[in-house]
């Protein structure tokens, strides 16, 4: 029981490490962005799972009843984070499009190779 109570954090860690692995090991820029998004969603899961109370219900108040509500504060934070996340992702994708126009590729290695050729 001591260990089983922590499973939500482990799910979060595995997902986060998936995203982390993509970001550091793949050279493709779109794939890096997908990895960043997986990373981001894992953090969302961490926050939301912290706010959950066993036997609780969604924080929409019901009049005249004694109910346990889950913690609304992480929900608000994550709501904001999701929308900021899509905004930054779209900005990153726009940058990828520009990089593709300038270099003709979205592979990190090839971009580095081209920049070095230019500087020589």
């Amino acid at each position: 029981m001591q260990i089983l109570g922590l499973y939500n954090y482990w799910i979060f860690i595995v997902l986060m490490m998936c995203g982390f692995y993509v970001v550091i090991s793949r050279g493709n820029l779109v794939k890096k962005l997908v990895g960043l998004n997986i990373f981001q969603t894992s953090v969302f899961i961490l926050y939301i799972s912290m706010g959950k109370i066993t036997g609780g219900t969604a924080p929409i108040l019901i009049a005249g009843k004694d109910v346990v509500y889950s913690n609304p504060v992480p929900h608000v934070l994550i709501l904001t984070a999701i929308v900021v996340g899509i905004a930054t992702t779209s900005l990153g994708l726009a940058l990828v499009v520009r990089i593709h126009e300038a270099y003709g590729t979205i592979e990190e290695d090839e971009i580095h190779a081209q920049s070095e050729e230019e500087s020589l």
């Binding site: 924080p59 889950s70 990828v96 499009v97």
Partner: protein, 171 residues
């Protein structure tokens, strides 16, 4: 989780993006299980809907095939990932358990929001009242971030396509 792992493995970027959409949808249902209906709603519409469309748009402008990495060391990055993950797991032993009502997080401002929101704000959805009223500054800043992102995208790719400098030099 399965979709995330598959998204990591595949090289066809179309499949990766579609799997990412499925992953978002699955995590949205996970949010419903954890009582965060507002968040699930947002994640389903943003992650599975709009983000996927934007990524597909990018793929249509660039390329959908990921090339085999030239000089990458997958073992090294795998090692880094495993060490980081193990360190994080070690850290979880001090964190309160899932669903525990006695967590410190549930005893700071959350009870105030839950108990007084009906008298002070008068709307049943506490997430809305916290979002728009108690934490109005956060949301204002966040709206500004979205606004700025739109300006950034417009500057980057908003105008008509011009011939880039490199093409001019080559021709």
């Amino acid at each position: 989780m399965v979709t995330a792992v598959a998204a990591v493995r595949l090289r066809d970027l179309f499949a990766v993006v579609m799997l990412f959409g499925i992953y978002s949808l699955v995590s949205a249902s996970l949010f419903v299980v954890m009582d965060a209906v507002d968040v699930a709603f947002t994640e389903a519409s943003v992650g599975a809907g709009v983000a996927t469309v934007f990524m597909l748009g990018t793929l249509s402008l660039t390329t959908h095939r990921e090339k085999t990495p030239i000089a990458r060391k997958p073992l090294l990055s795998l090692l880094v990932v495993i060490i980081t993950g193990a360190a994080l797991m070690y850290g979880t032993y001090d964190i309160p358990h899932y669903g525990d009502a006695n967590d410190p997080i549930h005893h700071h401002v959350a009870p105030h929001y839950l108990e007084d929101s009906m008298e002070e704000i008068g709307i049943p959805n506490v997430v809305s009242s916290v979002l728009a009223s108690y934490r109005g500054y956060d949301t204002l800043g966040e709206t500004t971030v979205v606004f700025t992102a739109a300006i950034g995208v417009l500057i980057l790719i908003g105008g008509a396509r011009r011939r880039s400098k490199r093409d001019d030099e080559r021709s």
